[in-house]
Symmetry: C2
Subunit: 405 residues, 2 copies
C-alpha cells in the first residue's frame, strides 16, 4: 500500500481523486501496489464532500507523515507550490505535477533535488494535458536526435482561432463566448498572449536539448491581432492560422518561439481544431511523428498526473531518468531566422510593397476586400522583413503573419 | 559497456547498426552505459562491409557469450527467430524485436519466459514502425481504461489507397507502381489482404485487454476489392477510404477486426496519407488521443528497436512491466456489430434495395456513373446487412464498404 497526498483540491486535484477512484483496479494493477489517498491539502473546507475526512490545511502534517511517499501538486503558481515541492523532495517524497509555471521556472533545480534524495519529480501533465508527450520524449524517442518540436500547446487559443476560422467571427466575440463556456479565463492574458504556450515550449525545448531553456527569453506573440480577414486570405491560400510554439536545432543554438503562423492544409497540425492540442516532433532517424489529444480539462490532465503517480509507485527509491541540466541553452535571436511572411497592404501601398520586397512577391486577392491585397514574400530573415515592412507604415492593412514550412 | 548482438543483417538489422552508430552519443547517454555491437548474425557474407568482422553464422556463439546481454531480433518469421528468442531469453539475455508475426503468435509465452529469467522481451518496433505506441500504452496511458484502438497500421495499403484517392488510379496500376518503388513486396498478399495489419491489431488488442487476442480469430478483409469509383462516392460524401484495424471493448468481450472503412473528413485519421501510420486511442478519462508517424522504413523501425535496446540497458536484471496474459480474450463475433454500410446498386436494383433496407436509405449519385447509385444504410448489425445485401445479388455494382463512426 502506497499512501499519497493531493495538494490543491481544485479542478485538476479533484480530477486526480476521481481518476484514482474510478479506475482503481487499473491504477493499482499498473502500480503493482494499492494506492490510497491519505490527505488532500486545501485552505478551503469541503463540507459533505466524500473526501471531507482527508482534507487538511497544514502542509506540515503531510510532510511529517512517513507513510506518504507520493504527492500530486495540483495547486499551480510558483509560490507555495514551489516551497512545498522543495520540502517534499528534500524529504524523499516524489512529486507529480501539472504546474507548468513551476516546471518551466525551476525544473532543473527540482529534478536535481529529487535525484539527490532518491525520489522523482514528474510533470507529464504540465504540457499537452492528457497527451503523452514528456514520457515519449524521455523514454521512447531515446534513439533519436530531436531536431524540431512544433506544438499547438494551448487549447483556449486554438478554440478561439478555430471558431474564427469556421464561423468568420471576430476575436473579441469569440473570446467572450469562450469565457462564457469556461474555455477561457476571465483574465485571458496568459492564454491569448501566448505565455502559457511559452512555458510549455520552454519545457519541451529543455528536454529536446538537455539544457535549460529560459522561458523568459523565448520570443512570444499572442493571437490578439489576428483578424477575420486574415482567415479569409488563409483559406484562399489553402492554409490555416494556428498559434504555434516551436523549438528547432539551429547549429549550436536553439530557436524557440511562440507566434501565430499560417500553415498549409497538408501539414498534420492543420487538422488540430478546437480545444485539442498536438505536438509534432522531428527526429533525425524517425522523421516526423505527432502526438494529438486533449490538451486541457479536468480528467485528461488528471489522467496524466496519475500516470506519473503510477510511475513513481513503480520506482520507489529509484530515480527515473530525465536529462534537463541547469546549464543555459544558447537561444538563437529570431532576427536571424529565415522564413516567408504574409502581409496585407492597401491598394495605394501595392507599388511601394513591390519596390521594397521585389517582384517575387506573390499576390492574393479577396473579392470581399477590394481595397487591399495580401502579399507573400520570398524567404528572408525576420530582421530583413521587419525593416522593409516598417517602411510600409500608413499603407498596411491589418497585421503580418509568419508562414511555417 | 553493454554488448549487444543483431540477429539478421537485412533492412531493419542494418538500420539498427546505423542508428547506434550515427546517434552514438545520444544512445549511450540515454542508456546510461556505452553500447557496443559485438556480433551480427546472418547466413550471408558481407565482404567489405564496415561491420564484416562482427558477422557470425552460428547463433551458438552469441548464446554462449556471457558478455552479450541484449539481442535485436530483426530476422522476421516464426521459425529460427522463435527458436533463437526462446534460447536467448532462457539464458537471461533480453530481446528487442521488430517481428510482429512472432510477437502476435507467441507474445505471452515469450514475455513469461523473459520474466522467469529476469530479462525483457520488448517489441516497440512491431507495431507502427517508429511511432511510439507500445510504450505509451504500457507506461503512459496507465491511469486509463482503454476503450478502443483504431489504427492505420500498414503503410503499403495506405500508400495504395492514398494514390487511388488522389490520382483516381485503379488498384492494379497503383500496386504495380508501389512494387516498382519498393513500397510493396513482390508477393504483396500479407499487406493487401490485411494480414500484416491483423498481426499488429492483435498485439495492440492484447495490450488493451491484458489478455491474449488470437490473430487467427480476427476478422480480416483486405483492400483488393476497393475500386476507383468507391473513392468518387467517398469524396462526394466528404469521406475517405482507409484500411482500419480496430479493437473495441464490447461489454465483456472485445471486437477486433481489419477492413476497409469509409471515414469522415472530420476524423483525425482522415489526414493520414501515403506511407504514414497512425493509432487512435480512446481512454475513459483522457478521451481521444492519436499517435502518428512513419509506420515502416529502415531507420524509423530501427530507431524503435534501439529505443527498446536502451530500455533494456537501463533495466539489466529487472523486469519491465507488460500486462499480456496467456488467457484468451473473448472476441465478439462481428455478426453482432452494429454500424452503417455503403453499397452500390445498378439503377434497376434501386427499388429492390429500398424494399430490403427501408426508406431511410440515403442515396448518393455521381454524374460519372449514371447507371448506378450509392446507398448508405441506417445503423444495423453486420448479420442483418449481409442477409439483406445478399438478396441484391445480380443488381449490385461493385462491393460494399463499412462506415466508421
Amino acid at each position: 500500500m502506497i499512501k499519497i497526498a493531493v495538494l490543491g483540491y481544485g479542478t485538476v486535484g479533484s480530477g486526480v481523486v476521481e481518476v484514482i477512484e474510478k479506475n482503481r483496479d487499473m491504477v493499482n494493477k499498473k502500480s503493482g501496489e494499492e494506492l490510497e489517498i491519505k490527505y488532500i491539502l486545501d485552505l478551503r473546507e469541503f463540507p459533505g464532500d466524500p473526501y471531507e475526512s482527508k482534507i487538511v490545511h497544514d502542509f506540515g502534517r503531510i510532510l511529517a507523515d512517513d507513510e506518504v511517499r507520493i504527492l500530486c501538486e495540483t495547486m499551480g503558481g510558483v509560490g507555495a507550490a514551489y516551497d512545498f515541492t522543495r520540502q517534499a523532495l528534500a524529504a524523499g517524497k516524489s512529486v507529480c505535477t501539472s504546474n507548468k509555471e513551476l516546471v518551466a521556472a525551476h525544473g532543473p533545480e527540482l529534478l536535481a533535488l529529487a535525484r539527490e534524495h532518491c525520489c522523482n519529480y514528474l510533470f507529464e501533465a504540465s504540457v499537452g494535458g492528457g497527451i503523452p508527450i514528456i514520457r515519449p520524449l524521455n523514454y521512447s524517442l531515446t534513439a533519436e536526435r530531436i531536431e524540431a518540436i512544433t506544438g499547438i500547446l494551448n487549447g483556449t487559443t486554438n478554440y478561439i482561432l478555430s471558431k474564427m476560422e469556421y464561423e468568420g467571427a471576430d476575436y473579441d466575440a469569440v473570446l467572450r463566448e469562450a469565457q462564457e463556456k469556461g474555455y477561457a479565463e476571465r483574465n485571458p492574458e496568459a492564454d491569448v498572449e501566448g505565455h502559457d504556450a511559452c512555458r510549455k515550449i520552454a519545457i519541451l525545448s529543455s528536454l529536446m536539448t538537455g539544457k535549460n531553456v529560459d522561458y523568459r527569453k523565448i520570443y512570444t506573440e499572442g493571437i490578439t491581432k489576428v483578424e477575420p480577414l486574415d482567415f479569409a486570405y488563409a483559406k484562399q491560400m489553402g492554409m490555416s492560422i494556428k498559434l504555434l510554439a516551436l523549438s528547432k536545432e539551429a547549429g549550436d543554438k536553439t530557436l524557440a518561439m511562440v507566434s501565430p503562423f499560417l500553415i498549409d492544409a497538408g501539414h498534420p497540425l492543420h487538422m488540430v481544431n478546437g480545444v485539442f492540442n498536438a505536438v509534432f516532433v522531428r527526429g533525425n532517424m524517425l522523421g516526423d511523428s505527432m502526438y494529438y489529444g486533449r490538451g486541457a480539462g479536468k480528467l485528461p490532465t488528471a489522467s496524466a498526473v496519475v500516470s506519473d503517480v503510477i510511475d513513481c509507485a513503480r520506482h520507489i527509491g529509484k530515480v527515473i531518468m530525465c536529462f534537463w541540466d541547469a546549464e543555459e541553452a544558447d537561444l538563437l535571436s529570431i532576427d536571424q531566422v529565415e522564413r516567408r511572411f504574409f502581409f496585407r497592404v492597401k491598394t495605394e501601398g501595392r507599388e511601394k510593397a513591390a519596390e521594397l520586397f521585389g517582384r517575387e512577391l506573390k499576390e492574393v486577392r479577396l473579392a470581399s476586400a477590394p481595397d487591399e491585397c495580401g502579399l507573400v514574400t520570398s524567404v528572408m530573415t525576420e530582421a530583413d522583413f521587419a525593416e522593409r515592412y516598417g517602411k510600409l507604415a500608413g499603407v498596411t492593412a491589418g497585421g503580418r503573419l509568419r508562414i511555417e514550412g
